[in-house]
Each structure stands twice: as C-alpha cells, then as structure tokens.
Symmetry: C2
Subunit: 437 residues, 2 copies
C-alpha cells in the first residue's frame, strides 16, 4: 500500500480521531454528530460489539450477529463521521499524528478507547488452555470447546476420562465468570437433556474458582451471598478463597487455605484478569512503566493526558479516579458516559470554555446467574431473583444498538426460556482438539 500523509489542512474544521468503536469510542463519535468537527472512527473490526451479552454467544444462546452492529451502519447518516477499518500502529503526540495501514493521519483531538484484553498475570502459557472472553472469536472458540467436551465424553470408554471431559472450571467469579458458570450448568442440566445415549450431561461438574472470599466482588456482601446460593441451586460448585497456580490442558492447580490441590478438567475458561490494550503503552511513547495498575493509562479529571489536554483516554483503557479517589470500574456505563463527556469537552473547548471535571453517574448494575436468577443494584437498591432478572433483561435489551437486534434477541430469549433450548449450539471453526484421530 502506498505511503501517504493525509493532511487536514484543506478543512477548516478540527479533526477528531477516535480509536476504538466500543461503548466509549462509539458514544463519543455519536455525540459529535452535529458538532463542527470531522470525526474519524478507527477500529480493527467493522462492528460495534455488545460485550455484556458475549457470554450468551459463548454458550449457544445467541448468534454473533445478534450482538454486533456494523459501525458504518450506525454512523451512515452522519456525514461528518467516517469509519476506517485498521489497526493503529503508532501515536505521535508531539506531532499530533497517528500511523495506520501505512498512512499517517493528523489530529486536533485524539480519543483513545481501545479497551482491555485478557491478562494471565504473567502466565501466558495458560492462554492456550483457558480462553478468555473478549471477542466474537473468543466466544465461538469457547462454544466449540464446551460443546465438544460433551461430544468427546460421549464417545469415550474410560469412566475417569469421561468425568474429566465433563468437568468445567471457570476461573474468576466476577460477572462474566458467574454468567458462564450458570449458563454451562443450564446447558448440562436442561439443554442437552435427552440428547446423549452414553453419558448423562447433567453429571457435568461446573467449578467456579475465585481468589476473593465471595462471588461478584463489586456487589454488597448480601447480594454476593444470594448469588452464591443461586449458583449452588444451579449445581455450580463455588470455591472462593482459592488461588489458581497452574493451568494445563488437563488440569487446574489451585492453592487453598488447606494446601494445594489438582482439579482434573478438560475445559477451563478464564474470566479473571484483564489489562489495558497494548495501545496504552504506545500512547506513552512506549513507556509501559508509566502505566497505572492493570496496564491502564492514567488520566486527569478531564480524562486527558496531563501534558496533552487534546488527548483523551476513555473506557476500560483509562485509569480514572472518582470523587473518592477510587478507580472507576471497567464497565460499559462508565465507558459510554466517558465517551459522551469527552465529546462535550471537545465542543466546549471549541467555544473557548473549560469543561467541568468528569463525574460518573452510577445508576447501578445487574448480573444474571440463570433462568429467573439474578442480582442487581439499581440506584443503590438491592434486587434479587426474578425481579433482578427482569431488570437485567430489560436493561440489556434496551442498550442493544439496533432495533432489529433488540427484536431478534428478545424472540430468541423468549424461545430459550420456554423450550430451554439454545439453538446457536454450533461447533464451528478450526479444531484444536488433539484427541481427534
């Protein structure tokens, strides 16, 4: 591809480059649709992914397209926003320029919203055996692995190995780990009922491992306790206060208060650690030492780099503090509000005004565990069971970007609820199963 330096000099309007089309980047772009700026939204993918429902793709309840909307479609009517597909290779904050696919692009304002990725606490070899859940490919890979485990168990003779195929370990009992554990338990106990002739899928053992002393640590103690009870009702073995010290293709090594232990499991899923995307270090001139906890980029109260007020970091990649000097969590509402805030800031600075510092408005959170089982904290008010589950359903449906997906997801949920089936149960993609002969 030819090298080109695309200058913005022909246009009088300032150029805003947004890197990342997740909740933070997309909400920023959309909030600039009527602003006197030109926006370039760059993503490696051609779609916005609704990550809170990714676990439902991983467990066969929804199709990838149900939770993904083409970015071009979302912004098609806003002529001041263009979308570029590509991966940003370099950021030069001194020259106000980024490098992308052999091009350079100059910016007046830069918004970095590339999110986070799995983090195995320095044990990169675990990744091969314990996939995390961040992308569509991760989700179809997990779907493949979970469903394949039942298939391999069905054709296995050795009863011990059958047990190992039917043991699913989930590392990390935050919202994603809890959702995965609950969904896999429902698959084993209900979806796959009557479908096998040799094994009993309901014999599957689902073990949720958590280092903290309770599940769903962001919630108050009593909701964590409720969640734990609901998980047990679904047949999930919850083991808190345990530390994972090793993961191989066939085992998880854990350290408990009583010593160390080996858990034989052919399927291990990673829902424990995330870290800021690698673009964070590039933004700081390659100085990864300057990154905050979890590889995130420290920003000031305006979500900007302290020495570059025109460079913003929003969403999971940002290390921003709330009014109590606590770091804001890496969740979708924080990301969306940060993106909108930066759009308002840019408009204010064009008018020569100084924006107020960012404040997160916390409306609450909701986590689902299974059919009719959830916990939620809405405006500080704890909800549990069916009410929390309906709240969760409603919030997630309404936040889906396209109306079509809202209708399709609602229909499939209604269907899945009624029949306990999960129709998107496809084993697709390359098979990395070495047992295959």
């Amino acid at each position: 591809m030819s090298q080109e330096h695309e200058s913005n000099s022909t246009s009088a309007k300032p150029h805003v480059i947004i890197i990342g089309g997740g909740f933070a980047g997309l909400s920023c772009a959309l909030a600039l649709k009527h602003a006197p700026v030109n926006v370039t939204l760059i993503d490696r993918r051609n779609f916005h992914l609704f990550q809170p429902l990714l676990y439902q793709v991983a467990t066969g309840g929804l199709s990838p397209a149900n939770i993904a909307t083409p970015l071009r479609k979302i912004v098609s009517r806003h002529k001041n926003i263009r979308v570029l597909l590509g991966e940003v290779a370099s950021i030069d904050t001194a020259e106000k320029r980024i490098g992308l696919n052999g091009f350079h692009l100059d910016y007046d304002y830069l918004v970095v919203a590339t999110g986070s990725t799995h983090h195995y606490f320095g044990n990169d070899s675990w990744e091969a055996h314990a996939p995390g859940l961040k992308t569509i490919e991760d989700a179809t890979r997990i779907r493949h692995q979970v469903l394949k485990a039942f298939e391999l168990a069905e054709r296995e003779i050795d009863p011990d190995i059958v047990k190992h195929f039917l043991t699913f370990a989930i590392v990390g009992a935050g919202p994603t780990g809890v959702e995965l554990a609950g969904a896999i338990s429902e698959i084993a106990r209900h979806t796959l009922q009557h479908e096998f002739r040799t094994i009993q899928p309901e014999d599957a053992r689902i073990v949720l491992l958590e280092h903290a002393d309770r599940v769903l640590p962001p919630y108050p103690d009593d909701l964590s306790e409720d969640a734990r009870r609901m998980l047990s009702e679904l047949g999930v073995e919850v083991r808190t206060g345990v530390k994972v010290t090793g993961i191989t293709a066939e085992q998880v090594h854990v350290e408990t208060a009583d010593g160390s232990e080996i858990l034989p499991a052919r399927t291990v899923l990673w829902a424990a650690g995330v870290a800021g995307s690698p673009l964070g270090a590039k933004l700081l001139g390659g100085n990864s030492e300057a990154l905050a906890h979890g590889g995130r980029v420290r920003v000031d109260e305006y979500l900007a780099l302290p020495d570059h007020p025109e460079v913003f970091v929003v969403g999971d990649l940002a290390f921003a503090l709330d009014e109590k000097d606590q770091p804001l969590p890496g969740v979708a509402p924080v990301a969306a509000q940060q993106g909108e805030y930066v759009a308002r800031s840019i408009r204010a600075s064009q008018r020569g005004e100084k924006p107020k510092p960012f404040r997160y408005f916390d409306a609450g959170m909701a986590s689902t565990i299974g059919r009719g089982k959830a916990v939620a904290l809405i405006f500080g008010r704890p909800l549990r069971g069916g009410v929390a589950w309906l709240a969760w359903l409603f919030i997630h449906l309404m936040k889906l970007v396209s109306f079509e997906n809202r209708v399709l997801v609602f229909m499939q949920w209604a269907w899945n609820y009624t029949t306990r089936n999960r129709s998107a149960r496809l084993i697709t993609g390359a098979d990395d199963d070495t047992d295959e002969t």
Copy 2:
C-alpha cells in the same frame, strides 16, 4: 483414545450406520425412527446444515445458526438413533465394519451420505484465491472477503487498485453462482449505500463467468434468458461461453471465443465444480478409478453397491440414473428422497421383501436472483419474477428443520426486504489479507 471393538452382538436389532447428517443421511435416519433397528448417525459436525441458504450467510443476510440445527436436538426423542461426532477413517465392506476415532463399529446396513466438496478441475492452487461455498466456515470466509474488499477500497489511494478491490468475479452460473452474484450486487447497490465516504460501493463490478452458453443450465432456455435479464437489471455482468484458465490473488484469466483475457479482480468466488467426498474412494477399497463422473459412486437401481446390497450411497455422493438413464442432479430433494427410500428398503428387507427400484419424484426447482427476482419450474410449470420469488421463499422457509429457525429467518427476511439492510455483516475470523500492515 483407547482402541475398542464395539460389537453389536448384544442387541438383537440390526445396526444401521449412516455417515453424514445432510439431507440424505438425516432423512434416512428420521425415516427409521420407528423401525426395529438401531441407528448410528455419524457426522463431522454437530449440526444439520440447510445448504440452500448458505449463500445468505456468505452475504450477511442470515447468521450461521439460522440455517443450522443441532443433530442431537433433531433426533433427541428417538431413542433408537444415536449421534456420534467424528470422521470415518475406513470402511471395510467385507467385514461390515467402519473405523472411527480409534473405534471400530460393525454394521448390518451402511448408508454413505457424505455429499460433495469443491472441485477445481485439477487446479488446486485456485482454491486459495477462489473459495467455494459448502460449509459454515466457507460462508463466513466469503463474507469476510467480500466485505473486506469494500473496506480495503475505502482506504486505498490508487484509483486502479480501488477498481480491482471493487471487482467481484464469480465462477459458475448455476444456482449458487447466480445467487451469490445477485446478492453481492444488492449489497453494493443498496446495503452499503451512504456507508462509505471515499468510494461509491455502487461502482462495484460483479462479473459472472460461465462456461456454458447460458446461466442456470438446469432450467429451460427461456427461464435462463429471464434469469440473465434479471441479473443484468441488478447490474451483474453476465459472461457466458467463457472458460476460466487461471486464478491468482489479483486476476482471473479467461478464454473467450475471441481469445484470452485478463480480468483484474481481488475477490473471486468459486461456484463451478463439485466432486464426491473422498469417502467414496475409501468405500471402493481405495480404487478411485472405479468412481463415476465427478468422483461419485455408481449405485444400482436400489441405490446400493452392486456387490453389496447392504451398502447404500445416497445424496450428492451417489451416481444414480433416472428412468431415462440420465444421472440425477446433486440437489436437496433428490438427496432427501433417496434417504427416505433407503430407510423404506431396509424395513422391507427386514420383512424379507424386495423393494421397488428408486424413482425420483421431481416437484421442480426454484432459484433466486435478488429482491423480487427469481425463476422457478414447479411441476413443469415455469414461473418468473415476483411469483417465482414468493414460491422460492415459501419452499425454503418450509424446508428449514426447526420451527424456531423458520420464524427467525422469516423475520430477518422481512427486515432485510424492508430496510435493504443485512445485519449479519460481520468481518470475523483470521485475516488472510496480506495487504494489512
């Protein structure tokens, strides 16, 4: 995996092994659900794929799960049918035994229904540049490639290369080629409208190359002529009577009546040749010389191997002749009827009766070209335009295996028809695009 010889001697019922869960194999299995036999249905995949709609996945109109139904789900209530996931490695017709995943399974009746695969007429190097459309992975690969071409064009500077990215060549003007060409043209002219800032997607050139002198050769002349006109209305360049002599990453070489020609095109799709699955040769003891035209297995009027009346070959893999000694086409209705016929034959032979020879009941065929554009031949009666299109819609909806998918597909079609959007437009999977920097 341990070696095991699983004998059927404990059961008094005859054992029917069916290899392949497509139209032929699945219809055979289901027709045996009340028969006094034990059925083992073996497939490499855990789902039945509704191949006639695969091109809609390849062009972003439907999600893979919409046209796939888990095999276990379909047969879950029929306790005499078990499903095994795996690839058959060997067939020993003398010992009546197959090898699978390190096991051996004995059969009393064997039904081979493994279908067909792409065939590049000995030019295997073409496959890398011109994917065919047989599997879910093929479909998402084509979807990736087609959508990516527009993205690469959008960020390209050289106007000639932009043109090459926006040229789509489809080799073969049978039903699949015609459907792909029509759908890509609609994507370019309608779906992607307003979505790009640099290129005009409607400038895309879609070229349909066919060796015969008309499109849709299985149809009567006048319907072929209608189809050609509808393709032209959609902006597809139809070139019949041309022979493809080479395919590279950037060009298609063609021979016409006037000489040879090079067509620069960065996207080439293969809809020309298919051949019987490799299991056909294994069935004949590795003697691929004995295969009929297109690598298919010659069967007698009972769809059995002449010297093995207990071994049946059905569907695309079978080379069966109709009453006029013409080979039956490799289409879904033939496959389904053959599968059911073999099930009836097996039941008859259990009663000591000799079945009548197989006769294909030809109800007709329908091929879609685009929105409101189709041709059909229903009970020998030609249909064209909107009527044919509605017939096509109705037939395909009704043939989908699960009611849920019927509802979901219908809704998405209604949506796509109204909005001209295609929501399953995801660029996913590994990127084999070497232009990426």
